[in-house]
């Protein structure tokens, strides 16, 4: 049914290619490199925090490490890895030959490289040291690396926006015949919801960063307090993007979970429309809550309560998603392969992040725990326990599609076990440290928090080790893993109906879709037929 794919040399991954599949893999590999860089920084931070008064790392070096650990992990790992997954899968899931603007797609990847180099180069001229939040006036007087950091984040924002223009246009104008919006796979739905957030929130951060860069380079007075500059203004500009950013970073991972659960439970996703609508609800609500990061700052006290309410409302669509996933696997025939394990891990760990998010939304509690290790634990449970576990699940699930090979199941399970234990061990103790009085971003701490920090560091080291089986598996299995066949998981979404890896133009004839993406258990239903010609076999 599918033509033999011409042998493509791996060299295509190193040059300018407009094939969305090549660009997808370029995103995945590049972001993984930065994941290791960010992870190394985390390792140094946790080694320093093994003892309350350790002098292994100087205070200045520590501030630079924690600033860039945050920036690298958020802007150079999570955003690009999810963009890579979206790039590879959205055209395949909707039956298109490529993205709507292939050249723009290649450019949005190739902006990532200078941006990443700029951020790493900042270490040679004195790296940024005002936290990934770069609060003014501290970030105005910092070393030159802060300017490089700002330019790097502007480039990344531009790349992210270009990607979103591509995703929205592709999903709206290039869906295959019969693939209505209510038959769109949930991963593509999540990319659509994410792109709306990217396009509306990123430009405001770009404007803010431009102001910081001008204050540092040209001597404008936007954030000069003696001249009347207002530090709260920067916080508003920053958080207007940076809270939607955390939804940008979790929605695609949620989309991946919505794809994996039906396949490994052999059962249709429960409440497809409610999940799709929840993605949009989270996306739009996400734009109205940013100032819950500023309850303790000098924001207008009258505005605090409305932000508390809108933040708490977001727990409802998130709850709908989690309960829908539970209902999906209820009564299913669950196969605990690695993608399913990570998807289950996502739910159990993201839940802890989500619940503590409601604690942080409650103003009186937030006034105590804001900017403490309670927040550090919360953000790592939603971002590492959540997004990264989701990204891992997606990597394992679509690995046969991208490479045509099967990964080693045992190594996958080892990676899951180490990752699950490591995450809980690393971040649960931080909740307690935060409640008891340990502030955030400190190079030394009160001796009463020693044991909690040692536990956390132990967890972090386990996480560092847990990446090894993943790395080995991904590389070695691609070279000589067993052939996976075209649809090893017997999934029904369109991207699995062609050959694996798919031909350069994805589908020989434009596919015609005749029923939903998750119609498991229907006796006569065939998987989404890729094209009329194949209807006969």
């Amino acid at each position: 049914m599918t033509t033999a794919t011409p042998a493509l040399s791996p060299r295509r991954y190193f040059g300018w290619s407009t094939d969305h599949k090549v660009i997808g893999v370029q995103y995945l590999v590049t972001s993984f490199f930065f994941f290791l860089v960010g992870g190394a920084m985390a390792g140094m931070i946790r080694t320093q925090l093994l003892a309350p008064d350790s002098t292994l790392v100087s205070a200045e070096a520590f501030n630079r490490l924690s600033t860039n650990h945050g920036s690298v992990m958020l802007f150079l790992w999570i955003l690009p890895v999810l963009a890579g997954l979206g790039n590879y899968l959205v055209p395949l899931q909707i039956g298109a030959r490529d993205m709507a603007f292939p050249r723009l797609n290649a450019l949005s990847f190739w902006l990532l490289v200078p941006a990443g180099l700029l951020m790493l180069a900042s270490f040679f001229v004195g790296a940024a040291e005002a936290g990934w939040t770069a609060y003014v006036p501290l970030s105005i007087s910092g070393p030159d690396g802060q300017t490089l950091w700002a330019l790097s984040v502007i480039l990344l924002g531009t790349s992210s926006m270009m990607g979103s223009i591509n995703f929205v246009t592709t999903i709206f104008t290039m869906r295959a015949e019969g693939l209505t919006f209510w038959r769109l796979p949930l991963f593509s739905w999540s990319m659509l919801a994410t792109s709306i957030l990217v396009l509306t929130a990123t430009p405001v951060l770009t404007a803010g960063l431009a102001l910081i860069a001008m204050d540092r380079l040209v001597g404008t007075l936007f954030f000069s307090v003696p001249a009347g500059g207002d530090p709260i203004l920067w916080q508003n500009l920053f958080w207007f993007y940076s809270h939607p950013a955390v939804y940008i970073m979790v929605l695609p991972a949620m989309g991946a979970i919505s794809e994996i659960f039906p396949v490994f439970a052999r059962k249709p996703v429960f409440g497809y429309r409610m999940i799709a609508v929840s993605s949009l609800a989270i996306s739009l609500l996400g734009l109205t809550v940013w100032a819950h990061h500023m309850f303790t700052s000098g924001m207008d006290p009258r505005l605090r309560v409305p932000y508390m309410i809108s933040t708490m409302i977001i727990a409802v669509p998130t709850g709908v998603k989690i309960f829908s996933w539970l209902a999906t696997i209820w009564g299913g025939k669950i196969r605990l392969d690695t993608p399913m394990l990570f998807a289950l891990g996502f739910i159990s760990m993201f839940l802890i992040g989500g619940i503590t998010g409601v604690f942080l939304a409650a103003i009186p509690v937030d006034l105590h725990v804001h900017d403490t290790y309670f927040v550090v634990a919360h953000l790592h449970f939603v971002l590492f326990g959540g997004s990264v576990s989701g990204a891992y699940a997606a990597l394992y699930y679509w690995y046969p599609k991208i490479t045509g090979r099967r990964f080693d199941e045992r190594l996958g399970k080892v990676h899951f076990a180490a990752n699950f234990i490591g995450t809980n061990l690393a971040y649960l103790p931080m909740f307690l440290a935060g409640l008891l009085g340990m502030p955030r971003r400190v190079v030394n701490y009160d001796p009463r928090f020693t044991e909690l920090n040692q536990l956390a560091s132990l967890g972090a080291f386990l996480l560092a080790v847990s990446v090894l089986p993943l790395l080995y598996n991904m590389i070695v299995s691609w070279v000589n893993g067993p052939k996976a066949g075209d649809n090893p998981w017997r999934a029904r979404t369109l991207e699995w109906q062609g050959s694996s890896p798919p031909p350069v133009h994805n589908f020989d004839q434009p596919p015609v879709v005749t029923e939903g993406p998750y119609d498991y258990g229907e006796a006569e239903a065939r998987s989404m037929m890729p094209s009329p010609a194949a209807a006969g076999d």
Binding site: S297, M308, I329, K333, L351, N444
Partner: protein, 340 residues
Amino acid sequence: MKERTLLVVVLVTALLVVAGIWVAQNVNLMPAEASTRAALVDQLFRAMLGLAAVIFLLVEGLLLFSVLRFRQPRGDDGDALPVHGNRALEIVWTLIPALIVIVIGFYSFRVLAASEIREENPLVVNVRSRQFAWTFEYPGTSVISSDLHLPVGRQVRFLITSDDVIHSFWVPEFRVKRDATPGQMAELLVTPTREGTYPVRCAELCGVGHAAMGLSSRVIVESDEAFQAWLTQAAALPADPIEAGRTLFKRYGCPACHALADAGAAGVVGPALDSLADPNGPHAHAHGGMDIRALVEQSVLDPSAAIAPGFADGLMPKDFGTRIPANELAILVDYLVAQK
């Protein structure tokens, strides 16, 4: 079959509620309660913890149960039943979380309002932060201290600001923090309820000394008598004028910017003040017919009037006029003028 599932649901719900209540009453993760606000916040926190326990046990329990109960039977590659949705169930699990969130929101609002009630005649304390130290000033007295002393039971009205970057004044045992933003004065109301010594933390990254700043100052909540005693002792001056002058020189933070061997000060931001009165000493330029005592007093009250060559204007605080009572100013100026 219907009754059995109903029974199971009721049983599980009862179990969860009991677990939630047990957690709310027995699990305490917070430090000591040392303010009226702390008591209120801890009640809210424990209630939310109980609710969180219920939700956590429910979801993780369902997850675990499903994984065990609905494992794929060996050799059965078929699909499960094609269940696409259940309108009633979806409505329930949208309304219940919405209800929970509304209750928590309302409860939080009431706790917030209750913790910001103004009592009359609060003790006003100025909290000044700079890179990398806290300074607490007691208006109406000349007391400036790096440790915060508070009488128990009396509401404190903190007026918090910063001289350079953003810091954040946080006392974990009081359960509250407020950012010290430069160029702004933030107000914070706290009523200490438990005597003891508690740490003062800095909760906003403010530079290389951020961690040190969070380990340097303490708040000492004590009885009113002890507090008054401390206040008078801190305000007291040694009898000997030179000794008193030296104490005031240190108390008002002059050593941070000025060097003066007599007071062991080594600041470099402002000019050294050794041999200030020597007409042909380093400060000869400024004399210009002015009486040296008038010049020194003017430089304290209005620093920009005469800037020593090689030093920048605008660095020395301009508010000493309001902060230093007249009698203390006289002692300080006499002390400086006495530097030969």
